[in-house]
């Protein structure tokens, strides 16, 4: 089955970020396909490489990066939500005159159309959030 996964909550604050990761990993292990993972609302904070959790805790961001790169998953951070919350890649930094970037490897910033397309192209869209 082909899934699109929507992550609506930030890492560490809310279990959604963990649940979405475990779901994605389990789905891939069962041979399913992940068309896209879309990060929305505070979920965009899953995509900052500046996260530094304590060493005895899981690193949610690098976990996403590793999963995404291992399985060539399209991991998209919503541009409108990212702009509000300060998630920045090279293109956004240039467009909005910012002095730094923080997007983590494996993530890209794009529009809400990517979420709608995920709903159209996938067999199931699974939303993780409140």
């Amino acid at each position: 089955m082909k899934f699109t996964i929507q992550v609506n909550e930030g890492p560490y604050q809310h279990q959604s970020a963990d649940s979405a990761y475990h779901f994605a990993k389990a789905a891939l292990e069962k041979g399913h396909e992940i068309f896209r993972i879309f990060f929305y609302h505070d979920g965009v904070n899953n995509g900052t490489r500046l996260t530094t959790p304590p060493q005895d805790d899981r690193n949610i961001v690098t976990r996403w990066t590793e999963l995404g790169q291992a399985h060539d998953i399209d991991m998209v951070v919503c541009v409108a939500a990212a702009q509000r919350r300060g998630i920045v890649d090279d293109g956004e930094a240039e467009r909005n005159g910012k002095d730094a970037t923080n997007i983590a490897p494996g993530f890209r910033i794009s529009g809400l159309g990517q979420l709608v397309e995920g709903g159209i192209q996938s067999d199931r869209l699974i939303v993780f959030g409140d």
């Binding site: 609506n8 609302h41 809400l112 159309g113 979420l115 709608v116 709903g119 159209i120 939303v127 959030g129």
Partner: protein, 135 residues
Amino acid sequence: MSDTKKFLFINRKAPYGTIYAWESLEVVLISAAFEQDVSLAFMDDGVYQLTKGQDTSGIGMKNFSPTYAALGDYEITKIYVEKESLEERGLTLDDLQHLVWEDEDEDYAEKDSIRLVSRAELGDVMAEQDVLFNF
């Protein structure tokens, strides 16, 4: 894009306490460009999103409630409001904005967009959908 799916955006939260309502509306407006069969549902505290006379001047936040009145122009004409959620909060349809759309096939007659449904009926509406977005 050839295939059309039935999309239902479910709005469950009050409008300003969190950003879910506003960012939901942003996806809804984008989805209209994809020529899908889009419906909205309002339940739980989400029914407050449609109340009329919203005034956010005291909290320094943008009042986005006028945007709901534009949904008809985006050809979003099915807005389900759960009856029990209204009643539990002491609200009636009169407390909500009067949302309409213009029916091209009937000489642009104005029609009501809001459909008052029971909890059970809303469950049936959800069961008919291809894609459910929860906000």
